[in-house]
Each structure stands twice: as structure tokens, then as C-alpha cells.
Amino acid sequence: MRFWRVIEPYIGFLLQGFALTIAACLLAIAGAVLLGALTASMRSSGNRLVRGAANAYGDVFRNVPFLVQLFFFFYGLPELGIYIGAFETGVIAMSIAGGAFVSDVILSGILTVDAGVIDAAKVSGLSRVKIFTRVVLPIALRVSVRPMGSVLINLVLTSSILSTITVNELTGAAKIVAATTFKPFEVYAVLLVLYASLTTLLSFAISAVHRRLNRFMTGG
């Protein structure tokens, strides 16, 4: 089979790239969710300064192309005397960009939490941090998990841009193979399948988390 003859010598190299993509995505998803939850809590704060800082972060990173952000970190950090690898830079940039979008969906979930429930938590003497982590966030996540899934899938797709800063993740590896073999169609057909499987798996995982969080909720 012609297709397999083209791909076979490079399959190991492509899978190495895929592994790098998976690693970058898992780290960036963790970073984006943590940063998003933190930012959402700041955006719902009573302190105007805290709220303003969090809003500014969200506005900047949602409104600038990811490629520009990535180059900004890749070329900018060394100017500041910070030398980290291209992979690390990519993960940080993805976390920061993803966090801005995640904070949006978590914030919209927070705004649906019944004020009376928060009153009950307040009068019971729980600290602000405990009220947020034990009551507000878990309730908000029930609503936010699905839209957050779309954001995270987008983040996975965005990881292909890391190829522009010398990270040979799946897309980076594919570019090299395509340039060597002059068979771009076959190479990118493999990519199509691999990216689609990764995002499908992620979307199953999100659905499972959503079902788990909403075990005993009506609707939603």
C-alpha cells in the first residue's frame, strides 16, 4: 500500500511529536484551569483593584492572536534575562492564553450560584477561601464544565502553533516529514486522525466529568 510505504519510516518520529503534543496539552490544560479559576475568583472579588487586574489580564490575552503572544514570550523572556526552553515557553503561553478564556466560563458559572447558598456558608463562619473552594467553585463548575470543554479543545488545536517556535510537536514533526518526503497529503492525513482522536478523547473526558459533577442535579 502506497500510503503506508510513505509513512512507515517516519511513524516513530511522528509519534514522538504526538507525545510532545499530548504533554504540552496536559500541562497547559492544568495551567489554564488553575489560572482560570484563580482569575475568575479575582473577577468576582469585592475589591476593585483585584477585579480590575484580573479583568485586564482577561481582556489582553483574549484579544491578541496566540501567535503574537507566543512570539512575545519566546523572544521577550530572554530580553528580561529569563532563559527557558521552547517547550516550557509554549506551555506557559498556552496556559496564560487558555486561562483567560477559562476564567470567562468559570465566572459565568459563579454568577449562577444562588446568593442564599453563599449566605448560608458565610453565617456558618467559613473563611472566604473555604467558601470559594468548597461551595462556590464546585457549584459553578457544574455549569461551566461543558463550555470549558470547548475552550480546552481549542487549546489542544492551538498547540500546533508551538511548531513556530522550534517545538517539534505533532505539527512541527509533520512539517519536517512533509518537507523530506514531498508527500504532504499523506503526512497531514495522519495528523488529521491523530488530532481528531486526541480532541475526541478530551471531549469524552469532559462529558464524563460533567455527568459526575451533575449526578444529582436536575437538568443542566
Binding site: G116, A120, V123
Partner: protein, 244 residues
Amino acid sequence: MIVAENVEKRFGDALVLKRVNLRVEPGEVVTILGASGSGKSTLIRCINGLEALTGGRITVDGHDVSTKAGLVAARRASATVFQLFNLYPHMTALGNITLAPIEVLKLPKAEAEARARALLDKVGLGAQADAYPQQLSGGQRQRVGICRALAMQPRYLLLDEVTSALDPEMTGDVLRILAELAADGTTMVFVTHEIEFARHISSRIVFLEQGELIVDLPTAAFFAEDGGLAVPRIRQFLSKMKKD
């Protein structure tokens, strides 16, 4: 002791509480009566610090609720049961009751759960410990709400129209539990429209009219012809309530 002195609460231009004075001694059951919008719930929400005062002072066992440290101590001394239950929807009945004892009182989980189960047994919900609020009826939810408040071992129980969202049968279940608590000597501040019940369990009744506390009398005197009933507004209020 809960002491409210010249309490004033303003929402924008609306003056909801006007120079309200109230003292609740340990062991008392004080019922707050008044028409809707008279400021009853607001007064409760000022005592537990959910609303900030715009004038006057409230202390719970000497702790001023308008100071940060005072509010922490005051909330430690009291517990609130809400009209709409306000249970945590993502936690079981047991989880609702044990959250604050574990996080605030720092009780070991096993001990907090054992106490919570004992409370649930007491209100007839021993079998529902692992049920989520959505799986419970309104009356059952409110009984969980009462257990959640009692689990904090409060010196003062604040009850904000706790039966207003319940049908008569469920109301009966909840009121029976409150009557037992009153008989046990639990100090309560009770906002309600259940006048007959208030008459049975209260040691004192106060009447709010458009944010002003116009009458504060022992229960018997409140319902006496030469006491509360001598006040035209109260006579009118009580006769209207009886018709319902």
C-alpha cells in the same frame, strides 16, 4: 445575650429599620412579628452580619458584628435557618451538616459525621443522610437546614421565616422540631407568620411596623386585651392573620 441598640438600616433612600432596640437573653424565645416588608428578615440579617448596619450597634455576647473580629465571634455564637433552606446543592445531607463543623470547629470527620447522624435521627431523617437536597422534599430540606444550624452548637438560633415555603403538613413537622428545641431551652430569635405557634413557644413577642419596633411584650401580655391587643395596629394585624 444579643443586644441591638438604635439599629438603623438604609437601602438607598429606603429606611428599612428605624432605631430598633432589642435584647435577647439566653434561654429566651423571642418572636418577631410584622407585616411583609416591615423589616423582620432584615433585622435577622443584621444580627448575623449578612447586612451591614447604617446606624446603631448590634452585639452578640459582647461581640460587635460591625467589626471583623466581632463578626467572626458573633457568627460562631449563632446559627441561622433560612426561609428557602439554602442547602449546598452539591453535597449530601451529611455533607451539608458536617462542612462547617469540620472546617470551622475543626472537628475530626468521624466525630462530625457521628454528631450529624445523631441530629438527623432526631429529626426523623436518619435514612436520608446520603441523599442530595434535590432528592428531598421541602420539609425534609428544612429539617436538614435545622440540623446544619444545630451542628455548630450555637448559643443562639436565628430562624428566618423557616416555614413560609412549606405546605401545612411539612410546616407541622418543622414546627414540632422547633417546639422540642424551645422546650430544651434553646435560645431562639424567630421570624414567622405562624402566630398560634409563636404564642405557644415564645417567651416574648416583638412587633415591627414599617421598620419600627412598636411593641415588645411577654407573650401573655402581647395577646392580652389590655396589652398588645390594645394597640390598634396589632389588633388589626392579628385579626387579618386569623382569617387566613
